[in-house]
Symmetry: C2
Subunit: 428 residues, 2 copies
């Protein structure tokens, strides 16, 4: 073996090949060090499209788990059985396991985590709690030096979407659910989501991580969102609140108070502004104070990203990669871009003499450099000898803007350097 | 050695014992598996209070690093030298290093990360980028399966505080800086913060992690916030924007566009609502879409929490802890609390017959169970035979509320089960 031969990739077995499984396969295409060796499905004859290599597909879960070339088992089939037996067998065979199965962990996590611990392997489940939001990692790693005091989560995207539709557009509960279903945000039977059971299972996993609460203690105080009407949103807003589907756990004198249900959150709070299918986890801890994590909590790709993040961590461990520089030697040849040719919208503030004709000269100077004006406001001078003119431009090249400002700042009517600020829309 | 004897704790050396160092010592008091063996300071005679064990304090950095009982070196002294040499020596001696030193990494990170890689040890730096916000971990671990497309950060808490003061209270720049200094949010010389250099260093580390950009490529487009006046906030708001101190990196066709400076962010965007000393990191990635992390980005304890999180991860690695159940066998005896005695504010919606006297009977029933009313609104019946009455209570015990609702729901004037929602303020 020469020095430049690549190391053998880490072998994976995928159990299940539905939406999340397909997303995982898609992300793994770009990962050199990882190779899917086998995929367990319930029906090998089903057409799974070009993304799934039919040579890898098989129905015998146990023989797939036992393959010598598989060291990480990825369970994305869902449900209790055969997932539970498969995970237990994989852990007992010394394989790391990554799962997205919250129902299974909420019910049998105590047994499965003990099994992983006994075998000295990992059982990772970032995808089981809040899709792509790295809250499991925050609790397992970032906050290990801290004491978590409370957790407030919006961890059911379907419920949040439904309440947002009711709150913003006056939709009824039934209409909002129908829309969520049409958009693929809700299942045909939305009960697990809108009645709070999905959130309760996630909350249980979070309390296990954050408070060390045994998984055998079930959350009992669970309420759904079916009873709400548009009227409740209107009055809540008038009182200064937004109705949000919360999952809450807080330490207090006699233990951890935990509940799931719709609640009124003060309008100014960050959680009140998490709308649509977004999820959010708001953690209070002794040292850190408040920490908010928010993102799309569900869906094919967010969930798959969390699964793959866990796979990569297992692979690092399996290879015994001890020291990893941040990029593990994968620093790419990215370069800083030249930004002069970018088109942006700019906010400009001119400080000019208060004389007739100045506004016209300013506007024509901007125009002559190709900077076009969307909005312009002239401040009342109020007795001063100078005045401010504020402009919002249309999309403009940075080079054109700077040329225009050089010209204007050198003119006799300008009294101070012109301030310019770009408009930046992170979502654009 | 018997089975219940504790394993030898992992030995730490602390380089520096200022604000962050003291916070780290405070958090480590509760950590059984970790022990500080030595603390390097520049003056052993300085009084450091009760939290610092004077027996551990010494001035000879190199002999402290080389101690056999030290396997993790924690650099919290700041500055370039002697921190750079100390970290290099520690890495070359096979010790893991945790640092909060962004200036050092931005300048000499390429050398130091290579040194860590060569020696097969960790160089961890969560605290160097955004205090307690786990953005380094998100980029190094959670998003490793994904492709980061863009980063928008509010990563200088001082600048965000100053702009928030100017925006919300019409403060001038100088007054806002003075207030930040009085509150301990700004240094005596605020230049590194308000001129954007601190944010630029952090951005460089984030681009290294997120885009694989070489640390040798410096961000050149750096602007500060000194030129802003209250007028700019007023006009920006009128145009639909908030002025925020951003650090931005986005992939585009010819590389990574990176800049630091104040910019207008659309009012409805999550970043526009991050105020005060809060920091935020908004990541766009291919699979995940948007992910927001927000929290207190600076200060003694948030920074110390990040340092200790990194220490614990190094310790796990150093001990070769392979399989860790989430709590590593530390499931505590926390129990779910009984919530009946909790005092909460409730939103209530009664559906009652539209007859004179009903409102009085409702109010007196609530009163007789000790539920007092803060606000009450009766809907116009509008021709219907029933009407809705909405109430916001004062603080009330859940048991009292439920007793009152049982009584009211059994009465002849109530037409449907009363809806109740708790008010939940995550910050209270």
């Amino acid at each position: 073996m020469t020095n430049d031969s690549k190391p053998t990739p880490t072998g994976l077995a995928l159990l299940g090949c539905g939406t999340v499984g397909t997303g995982v396969l898609r992300l793994l295409q770009h990962k050199d060090g990882l190779k899917v060796r086998a995929i367990a499905v319930s029906d090998v004859h089903k057409d799974r499209g070009a993304e799934v290599d039919s040579d890898l597909v098989g129905e015998d879960i146990d023989s797939i788990i036992q393959r010598d070339d598989v060291s990480i088992v990825v369970e994305v089939m869902g449900g209790i059985e055969p997932a539970r037996t498969a995970i237990r067998n994989a852990l007992n065979s010394g394989k790391h396991v990554v799962t997205a199965n919250k129902a299974l962990l909420a019910q049998h996590g105590a047994e499965l985590f003990a099994c992983a611990h006994k075998n000295g392997v990992e059982l990772m489940f970032e995808a089981a709690v809040a899709g792509g939001i790295p809250v499991v990692r925050a609790l397992r790693e970032s906050l290990t030096g801290d004491r978590v005091e409370g957790f407030h989560g919006i961890i059911n995207g379907t419920s949040n979407f439904v309440l947002t539709q009711m709150s913003e557009f006056g939709a009824t509960f039934d209409d909002a659910v129908a829309e969520a279903q049409a958009l693929g945000y809700a299942e045909a039977d939305p009960a697990a989501d809108v009645d709070g059971h999905d959130a309760a299972q996630k909350l249980q996993l979070l309390m296990y991580l954050g408070f060390g609460l045994s998984l055998e203690q079930q959350v009992r105080d669970i309420r759904g969102i079916r009873a709400l009407t548009p009227l409740d949103f209107r009055h809540s807003e008038a009182f200064g609140y937004r109705v949000k589907p919360l999952a809450v756990a807080r330490r207090n004198a006699d233990g951890v108070a935990a509940w799931v249900g719709p609640a009124l959150v003060p309008m100014g709070h960050m959680l009140a502004n998490i709308g649509g299918v977004y999820n959010a986890c708001f953690l209070h801890s002794e040292g850190l104070g408040a920490l908010l994590l928010s993102g799309r909590g569900a869906g094919m790709m967010p969930t798959a990203v969390s699964v793959v993040g866990d796979i990569i961590e297992c692979a690092r461990k399996q290879r015994g990669t001890k020291g990893r520089a941040p990029m593990e030697g994968t620093v790419r040849s990215e370069v800083l871009a030249n930004m002069d040719e970018r088109q942006r919208i700019f906010y400009l503030r001119f400080t000019v003499v208060d004389e007739p004709g100045v506004l016209g000269r300013l506007a024509s100077s901007l125009g002559s450099f190709g900077v076009s004006i969307e909005r312009l406001v002239q401040e009342e001078p109020g007795g001063k000898e100078h005045t401010e003119i504020v402009v919002l431009t249309h999309l403009t090249k940075q080079t054109a803007l700077k040329a225009a400002l050089n010209d204007i700042d050198a003119s006799d009517f300008t009294l101070a350097e012109t301030l310019w600020l770009p408009v930046e829309d992170p979502d654009s």
